[in-house]
C-alpha cells in the first residue's frame, strides 16, 4: 500500500517536472550557435608553465604580512614603486599571444614541438575567413590572406610572430628593445597592403620589438588606406593585450634543439602546398626494400616513404639499417626520419593512420609515386617506431632547408596524407623487413 502510494507520488512529481520542461521554451538554434561562436571566439588562456604552488604560509602569518604591507605603504615605502612607470617587471600570464579583448577574434599557433618555426598569434576585430582558421589555430605564415582580402573598412587585423632571440643573429639588431604594452603609433607604414588588395588598398604597419627573450614582429592591417583614430584606438586596445613572457628556463612556444628520446616519434603537420603551374599537388612515394644481390643480409635500398611538393619534401622515413651500397654520387643519408621544419608548416591535430577510402597494395622496388591534389594546404602525419629510443634534432642543410631528423633503425613507419577537410589522400606503411604498402585515393594520379 505504502509502495503504491510512493509510486503514485513519484509519477505525479515526474509528470509535473516533464510538463515544466516541455513548457519552458528553448532558444532557437541560431541563438545557440551565436552563443557558441561568442564563446569560442575567446582565445583560451595561455598555458601556465608551472603548477601554482599552494600558499605555504599559515593564515596567522598571512595576516601579519598583510598588516606589515599596509604599514609599509602607509609609511610611503611602497609609494614610489606604485607610481613609478614599470613595463618590464609586471607579473602577468606566461606565454606568447594575445589576451582576449571583447569583440576580437584570436587565432593562436599551438605551442610548437619543433624549433625554427616562429610562434604566431593573429587577432582580428572581424571574424576570420573560414579558410584562414585551421581548427582555431593560426597558420604559421601569419598572413590570414582571405580575411585581409575581404576586410571591411572598419576592420583591423594584427598578426604577431615570435622568434627566440639568438636563433638568427643577423636579424637580432633589427629588433630594438621595447617594453610592453607596445604602442601602435610606434609602428611604421609599409606599402605591402596594396599587394594584398590592389583595388581597395589596406593600410599596413609594422613594428619590431625585442621583448623578454623574443623578437616580436607585429603587422597591423586596417581595412582602409588610412586608419581612423577609432581604429588606432581599437588596435591599441588589442595590442595592449599582447603577452610575451617566457617560462622560466626555456622559451615558450618553441621546443629545444632536441626532443626527448623516445622509441616512437609521431608528428602531424599542416603544410602549405607550393603550386606548380597553378596546381597544388603533393607527391607521395613508396618503395619496397631491395637487398644486395651479393649479400642478402644487407640492403641496397631500405623500404621508404615520402611526401612532398614541388618545393621540397615534407616528411620522409625509411626502415631497416644499414644501407650497404649507396648509388655513386648519392651518399646514403643516415637519417631514418626527416620532418620539414623551415617551411610554412604548423603542428596540427592528428589524423588517422588508416586505409579507409583508399585503394592500393604492395609498393614496387622501383618506387611508386602518385600525385594527389589536396588544395592549398595538406595534412601529413608520420609515425615511426624505432628499435631503440632516439631524438629529433634540428638540421640545416646548405641550401637553406631546415629539417628535424632522427637516426636509428626504424622497425615500422606509417605516413598518412589528408586534405584539410579530412579527405583521405594516401597512406603508406613500411617495415624493417623491406615491405612497403601504398594506398591512394581515386583522384590521385600515378606519376
Amino acid at each position: 500500500m505504502r509502495r503504491e502510494q510512493r509510486e503514485k507520488q513519484n509519477r505525479h512529481v515526474e509528470d509535473a517536472l516533464s510538463r515544466l520542461e516541455r513548457m519552458v521554451p528553448s532558444p532557437p538554434e541560431s541563438d545557440l550557435r551565436a552563443m557558441a561562436r561568442t564563446a569560442s571566439s575567446r582565445s583560451r588562456p595561455l598555458p601556465s608553465p608551472v603548477r601554482s604552488q599552494r600558499w605555504p604560509l599559515q593564515p596567522r602569518w598571512t595576516g601579519i604580512l598583510a598588516l606589515a604591507l599596509v604599514v609599509a605603504i602607509g609609511l610611503g615605502v611602497g609609494l614610489g614603486a606604485l607610481i613609478a612607470p614599470s613595463g618590464t617587471a609586471a607579473r602577468g600570464p606566461v606565454g606568447l599571444g594575445f589576451l582576449p579583448e571583447p569583440g576580437w577574434f584570436v587565432l593562436q599557433s599551438r605551442p610548437l614541438s619543433v624549433p625554427a618555426q616562429p610562434a604566431v598569434a593573429i587577432a582580428s576585430n572581424v571574424p576570420f575567413h573560414p579558410d584562414d582558421d585551421l581548427l582555431g589555430l593560426a597558420e604559421s605564415s601569419a598572413l590570414p590572406f582571405l580575411t585581409l582580402q575581404t576586410l571591411p573598412s572598419r576592420g583591423v587585423v594584427i598578426a604577431a610572430a615570435f622568434s627566440p632571440r639568438g636563433e638568427n643573429p643577423i636579424a637580432d639588431p633589427l629588433f630594438p628593445r621595447r617594453d610592453l604594452p607596445l604602442r601602435v603609433r610606434d609602428a611604421v607604414a609599409t606599402g605591402y597592403g596594396r599587394a594584398i588588395r590592389d583595388g581597395e588598398p589596406l593600410a599596413q604597419y609594422r613594428l619590431h620589438a625585442a621583448i623578454d627573450r623574443h623578437n616580436v614582429e607585429l603587422f597591423i592591417y586596417y581595412g582602409r588606406e588610412r586608419p581612423t583614430e577609432a581604429q588606432l584606438a581599437e588596435a591599441q586596445r588589442q595590442v595592449s593585450g599582447l603577452t610575451v613572457r617566457s617560462a622560466p628556463g626555456r622559451a615558450v612556444g618553441t621546443g629545444g634543439s632536441q626532443s626527448a628520446p623516445s622509441r616512437v616519434i609521431d608528428r602531424t603537420l599542416s603544410c602549405a602546398v607550393f603550386p606548380q603551374g597553378g596546381v597544388e599537388a603533393v607527391d607521395v612515394s613508396a618503395r619496397s626494400g631491395l637487398r644486395l644481390y651479393t649479400d642478402r643480409s644487407r640492403w641496397k635500398y631500405p623500404a621508404s616513404a615520402g611526401v612532398g611538393d614541388f618545393a621540397g619534401t615534407f616528411v620522409s622515413v625509411s626502415a631497416g639499417n644499414p644501407v650497404a651500397d649507396p648509388e655513386p654520387g648519392f651518399p646514403a643519408s643516415p637519417h631514418r626520419l626527416s620532418i620539414v621544419a623551415g617551411r610554412t608548416c604548423t603542428v596540427a591535430p592528428r589524423i588517422p593512420l588508416s586505409t579507409a577510402g583508399l585503394a592500393g597494395g604492395p609498393a614496387s622496388q622501383l618506387e611508386d609515386r602518385y600525385d594527389c591534389l589536396p588544395g592549398r594546404r595538406v595534412l601529413v602525419r608520420v609515425r615511426a617506431v624505432f628499435r631503440s629510443a632516439t631524438s629529433l634534432r634540428l638540421k640545416r642543410y646548405r641550401r637553406g632547408d631546415v629539417y628535424h631528423v632522427a637516426n636509428g633503425t626504424v622497425a615500422e613507419g606509417k605516413v598518412a596524407v589528408r586534405s584539410l577537410t579530412g579527405r583521405p589522400l594516401a597512406y603508406v606503411q613500411i617495415f624493417e623487413s623491406g615491405k612497403a604498402r601504398l594506398f591512394t585515393a581515386r583522384g590521385c594520379v600515378e606519376d
Binding site: Q9, N10, H12, V13, E14, A16, L17, S18, R19, L20, E21, M23, V24, S26, P27, E29, L32, R33, M35, A36, R37, T38, A39, S40, S41, R42, R44, P45, R110, P130, D133, L135, G136, L137, P349, R350, I351, P352, L353, S354, A356, G357, L358, R383, R418, S419, T421, G422, R423, P424, A441, R442, G443
Partner: protein, 196 residues
Amino acid sequence: MGDGTFGDVTATTEGVPGLDPSAEQHPSTPRRTELDEAELVRRAQLGSSAAFEQLVVSRGPSLYRYLAVRLPGEGDARDALQETLLAAWQGLPSLRTASTFWPWLCGIATHKAADIARGRSHEVVDEVEASAPDDDELLDVRKAVSALPEPFRQVLLLRHLLGLSEVEVAEVLGTRVGTVKSRSARARKALEDLLR
C-alpha cells in the same frame, strides 16, 4: 580509434561545418549519421569551434531549460548559459575524460546559476511571476519548485531536467551519493506536498 587518434575522419565528420567530406567520399566507405559526443569533445578540446558549436546545439536546449527553471528571468537564464559556454570553452582543454563532458558542463551551469541567483535573490518572486507563462498549473509547478529548499531543488533539477545519475549529481554538487539519494527522496515528497 586506433593509435590514440580521433578516429576515421572520413566516416565521422558528416554534418560538421567545414569537415563534411561526403561530396568526395569513396562509395565503399562506411558512414555514420553523426559524430558521437566524445569525438566532438575531443575536437573542441583541440580548438575546433565547429565541434563546440555542434555540442552546444545538441546540449544547449536542455541546459537552457534547466537554467530557465533554476533562475527567475529569461535574461538571467541566457546570461548564465552564455557564461557557462564561455567557461566551458576555456576549460575544455583541462577536461580529462571526454565522456564526462555532460556532467562537467552541468556542473559549470549549476555554479554559474548559483552565482547569478545569489545576486538576484531579492527579485525572485516578482520575476517568476513576470516571466512565467499563463498556464496556471505550470505556474504552480514552477512556484513549487522555486519554493523548495535550495539543496532539494538542485538535486531534483539535475536528476530530472538534465538527466544526470545520482553519482553524477553527487560529483557536480560535491556531496556523497547517499546524500543525493536522501535529498532526492525528500525533494519529491516536498514537491508533492506543495503541489497538492
